[in-house]
Symmetry: C2
Subunit: 327 residues, 2 copies
Amino acid sequence: MIEIGLYMAIHFTPVTMRKKAIVALGGNALVKEGQDGNIYDQFDNTREVSTSIVEMIQDGWNVVVTHGNGPQVGAILLQNNTARDVTPPMPLGICVAESQGMIGYMIQQCLANALKKAGIKRLVVALITQALVDETDPALTNPTKPIGPYYSKSDAEKLRNDGYQMTEQTKGWRIVVPSPDPKAIVEGEIIKKMLDDDIIVIALGGGGMPVFEKEGWGLNGIEAVIDKDLASERLAEAIDAELLMILTNVEKVYLDYNTPHQKPLDNITLKDLKKYYKDGHFPLGSMGPKVLAAIRFLECGGKKVIISHVEKGWSALQGKTGTHIQK
Amino acid sequence: MIEIGLYMAIHFTPVTMRKKAIVALGGNALVKEGQDGNIYDQFDNTREVSTSIVEMIQDGWNVVVTHGNGPQVGAILLQNNTARDVTPPMPLGICVAESQGMIGYMIQQCLANALKKAGIKRLVVALITQALVDETDPALTNPTKPIGPYYSKSDAEKLRNDGYQMTEQTKGWRIVVPSPDPKAIVEGEIIKKMLDDDIIVIALGGGGMPVFEKEGWGLNGIEAVIDKDLASERLAEAIDAELLMILTNVEKVYLDYNTPHQKPLDNITLKDLKKYYKDGHFPLGSMGPKVLAAIRFLECGGKKVIISHVEKGWSALQGKTGTHIQK
């Protein structure tokens, strides 16, 4: 009996030796402020951001890299609209899928090269990923998120005929789409299996293609965008990650950001963060969803969230910078 | 000692219960002759082609779906060129990666829906896939493969300035790129692991992004295209598939194709097929690479190759149609 017990303990317990983390890269990781999005800059930036991830892997972490796609999907939408008279424009979901292919390829190649250079033998692959939303999410009937490039009035008219809602801003017209709350990541179970197999996964580009469960049909795409950090949090739950690292364009989270009284947060508890969140310290379009993702993750059993700059990932993990949030 | 032997047999032998197959879908699977490539037709066609694959899975096969991308990457190249003055055009490798995202998403969603409808609980995911080529492949210095749309003379000039070689055909100018021989699939080991985990994988869209091993650097992309069927064969070797099914726009392989004497092949041995291949029965641009893939696969330990029409996959597997090639 003892032998059987021991045997079962060794052989039927899922072996997950390494600590698991999600590293969520902001849109500025691959296209920096002022760059035009050409491929050479994007590859250079991808190589740069890979170094932090290699350090983490060397330190014993099993990593899923998620990433934004703002600049890339913006360029793809613009290409689709400019060429609309010569080839049928694709809907937003397809453009997001294209950006997952493009960015996934870059990260997969650069990260594998960097790992090899560091003498680490690990497999890396990018997955096409869908985010499940609730068909009754009120956000779906209230498009609020401006995406992609600025268009002229006549182009805006054409896009409106395609079914897009358009909004006028100071620099021109933009597409506005709903941003529903992600409920789950369709490929979550697969990603967990792959991590348990020690594979490094790139997933959830642009927050994933939003899909809903259509009765008698199955999954169906929807014209919307998903917040990448809220989606990354759902994935972190699905894979039982202990760390969610959100890398963006600021080194720390601030109270009273962009005011003379702005105050960086170094270490903060979940309880205090929730209070500041409720008090409205974190704007909806930028730090808000990141802080909400942090709150959800820690409330669902996650151990730690770090928010820092894309160039400071490894430094933040060592405790040298970043905002560190724990229960 | 007997106990240890038994224990090892149970626990250290890879458990691969299901037979493994590669199903390689031709470019006509998702965009049919005469269609303009709009997304609604593409989804309809994807649902249609999914039914054969569901039948196979129901029959006990573990499947990797590979696919062409001719119409899709053609549209992406055209969009890139048309919008070149407003956003930097991407190189061919990136356009292929975008097409993998787009097509992978469609197949992944439609196939998962079809499986669910059939009451089969299986996980499906599309992977970004690279094909390794040899830097010294003579094909690399001899671009022969015309790809993508027809351009005007002035557009051809711009593309030439981007570094593309252009060729004049009767309908206009086209990009010509090298088509080197794939040596291995970079993600082969990952795909094998996933299959052994009972996951259905979509991979190798457009034959994969061609990469070579650059000394002191790692993998590096190259402006070329890979034949999807030759790449699928390399993947079939990597995953120890027993069946390679190539689905295209004809129901069978023919001798003297498109002549008054054309003769369909129903069942043929490797030896006879090699003879016909040497005799020049299969043109380079169409059936040639498919037959070469068949020959390579059977010579490397594969059991069977079936070549048939994209709408006849399941029917061909049941022996009702198609060309069946065995050792």
